[in-house]
């Protein structure tokens, strides 16, 4: 700002000097014309018009001022450049700090969420161990109930840890050519799907429905999508799993649809965010993990459509070479 002020001041000074000297020379010229002789006309300057001609002085002052102005401009440009570089560096440092802070915030949130998810079943386990120790085996039915609860909570704890770990190792370790049909069928076979829910499965261009990735990863992605679809339907509905190939870009498509009430508009943008869950029992890990797995395998996972008539999630993966199976 100071440099700018100096430059403006110099510019105004330069203009005023020019105007002032032009007026003086004009005035002197008139005076000479009127009197017909050369006279001292600059009493306040104490300079004789006869001895020092005005025009060259004005040009000299103008030139010096111009050079000064040019130098100041250059100086200003250089200082501006330095300041821009300095500010850029400051912004870089700040954004690095913010990125670190974001990572720490995510880590903190993750730690809190993991603590909550694990401590609840662990508390239940410790309560049942305490109760078993104090109650003994007098009541066989109650004893069995407590053992069953222990088993369930240990399984839950293990599943939570597995989900967290699968998020950290999203890159496939044992990739093989796997059949989409086999994987979908395996998932459906392992799941306890309520009887009221109808299941429609269709496979088109079956010989091309093969992908090269880790079987367990594809299994967990499909399981997650199918489980979400089932949970979206309250009592009854139709679960649809369709798979087909898009030949122009060699993509295997898998669409998982439900006939539930649809995903509320206010959460549609955050369904793939970590710990974002509208379900009471949701951990907010399922969809983000599934998306990470798919992306690590150069694929895409997105919400294709959602309305009051249901939702459809689309999974796109590169097709593997045609299998001989």
């Amino acid at each position: 700002m100071n440099t700018k002020k100096i430059l403006y001041s110099l510019f105004i000074l330069f203009l005023l000097t020019g105007v002032f000297h032009t007026a003086e020379v004009q005035g002197a010229s008139n005076a000479v014309k009127k009197s017909g002789q050369i006279a001292a006309i600059t009493s306040h300057h104490h300079i004789s018009a006869k001895l020092i001609p005005w025009k060259p002085v004005s040009i000299a002052i103008g030139t010096i001022t111009g050079i000064m102005l040019l130098m100041m401009s250059l100086l200003w440009v250089v200082s501006l450049n330095v300041r821009v570089k300095l500010k850029t560096r400051q912004i870089e440092i700040l954004s690095q700090k913010m990125a670190t802070r974001d990572k720490l915030a995510v880590l903190g949130k993750l730690a809190g969420q993991i603590a909550h998810e694990l401590r609840t079943p662990l508390s239940v386990i410790s309560n049942h161990v305490f109760l078993l120790r104090n109650e003994g085996v007098k009541d066989k039915k109650l004893f069995e109930k407590r053992l069953q609860m222990l088993e369930n909570k240990i399984k839950l704890t293990s599943n939570i840890l597995e989900s967290i770990l699968s998020y950290s190792r999203v890159k496939a370790e044992i990739s093989t050519t796997i059949s989409i049909k086999e994987c979908v069928e395996e998932v459906l076979k392992d799941m306890a799907i309520p009887e009221d829910i109808a299941i429609k499965v269709s496979f088109k261009d079956e010989e091309f429905l093969f992908v090269f990735m880790d079987f367990h990863q594809l299994y967990s992605v499909l399981r997650n999508l199918i489980l979400n679809a089932i949970e979206a339907m309250d009592i009854n509905g139709t679960l649809t799993v369709e798979s087909f190939c898009t030949f122009k870009n060699s993509i295997v498509n898998i669409h998982v649809s439900d006939t539930g009430p649809g995903i509320p508009e206010n959460v549609q943008d955050t369904i793939f965010h970590l710990f974002s869950s509208s379900k009471i029992t949701g951990t907010g890990l399922g969809l983000p993990i599934a998306k990470s797995i798919v992306e690590a395998n150069d694929g895409k996972l997105y919400l294709k459509k959602t309305s009051s008539e249901g939702s459809c999630f689309a999974l796109e993966l590169k097709t593997a070479k045609k299998s001989k199976k």
Binding site: G112, P121, N127, F130
Partner: protein, 130 residues
């Protein structure tokens, strides 16, 4: 809502969205027939229960859908200022302890607390209150 016992013992309300947690902790607290325990898995329902019933203590979870433990604590204290409230949380932070104390919580305890410890904390706090 489920009531485990009905007599003149100190009455405790448990609020946690995890039903298994409520049931197991309720069994722990009623094991020695020390307390009369009522539990709810819904904070809004818990407030309705508090309006109708007198409790010596409420043990509430922090992380719950619909309403978190701090908000529930605030509302419980507005309804019945004399109820002793324990806040259970999986992740204790200084901020949370400070806020909970400010709202009137007697204790902020880790969600993973051994049954013996929570029994001890409850009995000591109730004794101090008497």
């Amino acid at each position: 809502m489920k009531q485990k016992e009905k007599n003149k013992k100190a009455r405790i309300l448990l609020v946690d969205d995890d039903k298994d947690m409520c049931e197991s902790l309720s069994d722990v607290l009623t094991l020695g027939s020390n307390y009369d325990v009522v539990y709810s898995i819904n904070p809004l329902e818990a407030l309705e229960i508090i309006k109708k019933t007198d409790f010596s203590m409420a043990v509430i979870d922090f992380k719950m859908p619909d309403m978190n433990g701090l908000e529930l604590l605030k509302r419980i204290k507005m309804l019945k200022p004399n109820i002793i409230v324990f806040l259970l949380t999986a992740f204790i932070s200084n901020d949370l302890v400070e806020q909970a104390k400010k709202e009137g919580a007697a204790r902020v305890l880790s969600k993973f607390i051994w049954p013996n410890e929570i029994l001890k904390c409850i009995s000591e706090t109730l004794k101090d209150k008497q």
